[in-house]
Amino acid sequence: MGVAGRRFSTSLETNGSREDDRTSPFVSSEVEKRIWDVLENVPDPELPVLSILDLGIVRSVEPHRVTITPTYTGCPATLAIQASIRAALDAAGYRDVAIETVLSPSWTTDWITPEGRAKLQAYGIAPPSPAATATCPQCGSADTEEVSRFGSTPCKALWRCRACAEPFDRFKCH
């Protein structure tokens, strides 16, 4: 394990062991691809419609290491996400893959994938956007207004649609 990678890890985050070096680039990329496939099926615990890949919190995958970054510093889902990744990797036979958390560069909503944004809108949460108004996830109207700067979680604000009168959450730009 490299010095630079090690510097940000804590005891909580390194569960795996690494007993060999898989040096062949072919084997590495095959393993990496399969690990990516495993991660694609790990949902965000608070927004189960999104995978952790949609959310953009997986920073890199190496044959022996998955690097993730937290969304908000106080997000209670951070530990739950680590536990779900661990369980998914273990179940797929990757007990020797460590999970490492890095803070830098810090997560931004720009990393939510286009698929993730579409899933959010379909789920009833307006995706993050610098636009002044949100598109109502219920009726599609752009005639919407902010009710409160925070919604049910730190990452969302509470909005209301003037056309259909339904309230909805909007992902904050972060």
């Binding site: 394990m1 010095v3 630079a4 090690r6 510097r7 940000f8 804590t10 937290p70 908000y72 510093t73 106080g74 997000c75 209670p76 803070l103 830098s104 560069p105 810090s106 997560w107 931004t108 009710v147 409160s148 700067r149 925070f150 919604g151 049910s152 979680t153 730190p154 509470l158 904050k172 972060h174």
Partner: protein, 281 residues
């Protein structure tokens, strides 16, 4: 043939303190290790104590939306405290993690500023504290992102995005209450008056912080004051509120000289982990 220099006791001590991976890429920081630990403790205690204060509003705020806002602000701050106290504990090297520092220190060992430990009072007083503190904290983290200590810099870069939002939210409320009814306006004035005497302490420097400024690790807080005064002045003008005037600042939190309020806060916060040390969530 030249002889090799003798190994000095301090070289041995330095080598022993290096992390398992060997922080040999950052030898310049090593001499500031204790000061950075102290610095992280101050920043972490500020975030922890204010976070705990805000959670007292949970279920008591005037509206559901405000309840959610204050709880989410508290959550962000406690997240920042976890990172900062974790760093402080690691650098201190006595085996204390963030939880040990939060729950197993007594009041005199806390290094937070006095403003964050003040009782919530009414909603306007809570908003006054949040506005003053978040405005200061946002400027501090903004500058700390460029610290020569990478761990501090990355925590600041992450936290600043959260804190800018806190400062905006609080400023919105200062304007809304100040420019609102006669009653909300008077309460906002009283809230700002209560907290004004604790503003100077936010920007106070001491030898520890000055040494870190000289090493490009810490932030020169005194230099942040004009920007802070500018923001506060603009928001209060917008809110049609007068600038509070207080003759004398109250200081001492960074040395552990706290008001009586902090002990009461800790009694609530620390009771469970102290009474049931092995309790797990």
């Amino acid at each position: 043939m030249p002889s090799l220099p003798t190994i000095q006791p301090e070289d041995v001590a330095t080598a022993e303190r290096a992390s398992h991976a060997g922080n040999f890429d950052a030898p310049a920081l090593d001499q500031h290790r204790d000061a950075i630990a102290d610095y992280a403790l101050r920043l972490g205690d500020d975030a922890l104590i204010l976070g705990q204060r805000l959670t007292e509003w949970c279920g008591h705020a005037p509206q559901l939306e405000i309840d959610l806002s204050l709880a989410n602000l508290g959550l962000d701050l406690i997240g920042q405290a976890t990172l900062l106290l974790g760093l402080a504990g690691e650098l201190e090297g006595q085996g204390r993690d963030a939880d040990a520092l939060a729950f197993h220190r007594d009041v005199l060992a806390f290094r937070n500023c006095l403003m964050v430990e003040q009782p919530n009072g009414d909603f306007a007083r809570t908003i006054a504290r949040q506005f003053l503190f978040s405005t200061y904290q946002a400027a501090l983290y903004e500058a700390l992102q460029h610290s020569a200590a990478p761990r501090l810099a990355e925590i600041a870069a992450k936290a600043v995005k959260e804190v800018r939002y806190h400062a905006d939210l609080a400023a919105d409320w200062v304007i809304r209450l100040g420019d609102g009814s006669e009653e909300s306006r008077q309460r906002m004035i009283d809230g700002l008056d209560w907290h004004w005497r604790f503003v100077d302490e936010l920007f106070q420097m001491d030898a520890v912080e000055q040494a870190l400024v000289d090493a490009a690790i810490g932030v020169d807080k005194a230099a942040l004051r004009p920007g802070f005064d500018d923001v506060v002045g603009r928001v209060l003008t917008n809110a049609t509120l007068p600038l509070p005037v207080y003759p004398r600042a109250v200081v001492g939190g960074r040395k552990g000289h706290h008001s009586e309020h902090l002990g009461h806060l800790l009694a609530v916060m620390q009771f469970l982990p102290r009474a049931y040390p092995d309790a797990t969530w």
